[in-house]
């Protein structure tokens, strides 16, 4: 029983990270109908940005003895700065690669997205080298309390807390602010939104920036969990988060979070009870099953395309 609860805790923790990435996919898909292949690589860039911020601030490993408020402050600072850097990168990608193609066939946009993704991966490999780098420990992963015999660590609490905060902030932004309303309008129809005086291009750029910032938050949390940064680190989490977004119904924000939680739990349980080598194949198997039986996802509604 205790081990099951432990696996559930780990699954939720993994699912929260997927959720943050999946939201970026779903936001961009909702507004451009584009699978942003480069999203996983923005996640990778954000991890490098976090490394850079750590180096810049002179943050090494914080020892157990020095574990006090300071490390939380440093963690928050690193997260904020790398989110800003990733937002800038996301904005740049949209501005340079996607915006010039607005109005062209979607296939061209998709090919560009694949190209950008590969360019970021290989560019990072050429710039930073293919060797993985270690992330300095900012939060010491110590057991915080036990729940029915299972240990809940400080790291799990951090991951879940950060994710919840960001999700609530996003929900507020999308539902309650002017810009969020503009975004929902643009995702409905670019033309109508433009006629109503909404700066469509600015809204799309902002959506990319927000999605990338969420991916950066995920990258910092991921770095705290698996302290290794390498140029191809974004590929697998990116694909899995995409599957999560499709599972929940792509374009649907709450669906993406639910899908990510389901995927995170399923992966952890599959790895724990049986076939750990099939862990990575699970996401693709799930994807094919969804496409076969419920292409609109669990919470999405399938809209027939009309002329």
């Amino acid at each position: 029983m205790a081990t099951l609860i432990q696996h559930l805790i780990n699954g939720i923790s993994l699912g929260s990270i997927y959720a943050l990435i999946a939201l970026g996919y779903t936001l961009v898909y909702g507004i451009l109908r584009l699978i942003n292949f480069a999203h996983g690589d923005l996640f990778m860039l954000a991890a490098y940005a976090a490394l850079g911020v750590c180096a810049l601030l002179g943050l090494g490993d914080i020892s157990l003895a020095g574990l006090a408020q300071s490390s939380w402050g440093a963690f928050a600072l690193v997260m904020a700065l790398s989110m800003a850097a990733a937002a800038l990168a996301g904005w740049l990608v949209e501005r340079l690669a996607y915006r010039p193609l607005r109005g062209q066939p979607r296939l061209n946009l998709l090919i560009t997205a694949v190209g950008v993704s590969l360019l970021l991966e290989n560019g990072a490999q050429a710039l930073f080298g293919a060797n993985p780098r270690r992330v300095p420990t900012l939060i010491v992963d110590a057991p915080a309390f036990s729940l029915a015999g299972a240990q809940v660590s400080t790291l799990d609490i951090t991951v879940l807390g950060t994710t919840l905060t960001l999700l609530l902030a996003l929900e507020f932004w999308v539902q309650r602010t002017r810009m969020g309303r503009a975004m929902r309008a643009v995702s409905h129809s670019h033309e109508t939104a433009a006629l109503l005086g909404i700066p469509v291009n600015r809204v799309i750029a902002l959506t990319f920036a927000v999605g990338s910032a969420l991916a950066a938050a995920a990258a910092v949390l991921y770095g705290a969990k698996y302290p290794k940064v390498e140029p191809l680190m974004g590929v697998m989490p990116g694909i899995k988060a995409f599957v999560a977004a499709v599972l929940g119904g792509i374009g649907n924000l709450r669906g993406a979070v639910a899908g990510a939680m389901i995927l995170g739990l399923a992966e952890t349980l599959v790895a724990a009870y049986g076939a750990s080598s099939w862990r990575d194949a699970l996401a693709f198997g799930l994807l094919i099953l969804i496409l076969l039986f419920k292409p609109a996802g669990l919470f999405g509604s399938y809209q027939r395309e009309k002329v």
């Binding site: 109908r33 066939p105 090919i111 560009t112 694949v114 190209g115 560019g123 599957v243 499709v246 496409l291």
Partner: protein
Amino acid sequence: MRGPATSKLSALTLLACFSLAAWGLDAVLPPYLGALFLLIGINALLAVSLNLVNGVTGQFSLGHAGFMALGAYTAAWLSTGPLASLFLTEMSSQLGLACTVLAAALVAGSAGWLVGLPSLRLRGDYLAIVTLGFGEIIRVGLLNDNALGGARGFIGIPPAGGAAWVFGLLALACLACHRVMESSLGRALLSVREDETAAEALGVDTTRCKVRAFAASAAGAGVAGALFAHQESFIHPGSFDFMKSVEIVVMVVLGGMGSMSGAVLAAVLLTVLPEALRPLKEITGVDLRMVLYSLSLVLLMLFRPGGLLGRGELWTQPWARRLFLTLKEGKTKKT
């Protein structure tokens, strides 16, 4: 106008001449260039088959190397296992190769049908993700399968084939594509690319068309894989990774999506270029090939989305027509 019978006959003659010429050329080339020559043919076959999906039908597959791997491993397993006795003599190995190529096409084609059926029912981008995942699953599966050599690779595949086979099959694939494009299925595929909703409204069974094109394209990749396996006589999962899929996609995009001759042209370019650029890699010390590939994808889409030849063929380009016309005029003046 030529009748279909003469056109078929001339096409067959052309095919025979082509493979004979390739065979002759291969015989006189030094070994290194000969191997490069065969690689060009195999890559061109991959590009032409992918063009059927990514170019003609307007879908986006990112797992062509996975189908190639299926074909290669099928051929490798058959030629060392059940059909090993056929590869003992030169003569019967031709029959053996025909069998393995056919089997590779069947296996890869059925896999394409299975993968395509769920993902092609939907519009657009899902195919890209599913094929990407499929390619990875195949690669990881092969890595973990010890019966097929696993990470060590599959050794001891009997060498067979050569230029006549590679270029004969390439010519056959081109001919088949050309004939399909002239048929109602080809027109249906083009209509799916142009506007799926309109195609559906006109009564085109879009899913069926797409799945057919996808299965045929996968079968072509399987054939290329089988030829590759018999050519190299050693294969391992790393030869069929995501980079290989991307390489083929770049060939199709560079050649002009939907242009068969463009795909061949780009395959020639992208096979020769890395070899020619080998000294550059030695100087800089990093493999900039993938950076160049990805950058060229983005830049192509931004500045020349039509690729080298656009949607037309080599012989429909304005300059080719002009050349043809001047040649014709020159001829008539002489007589």
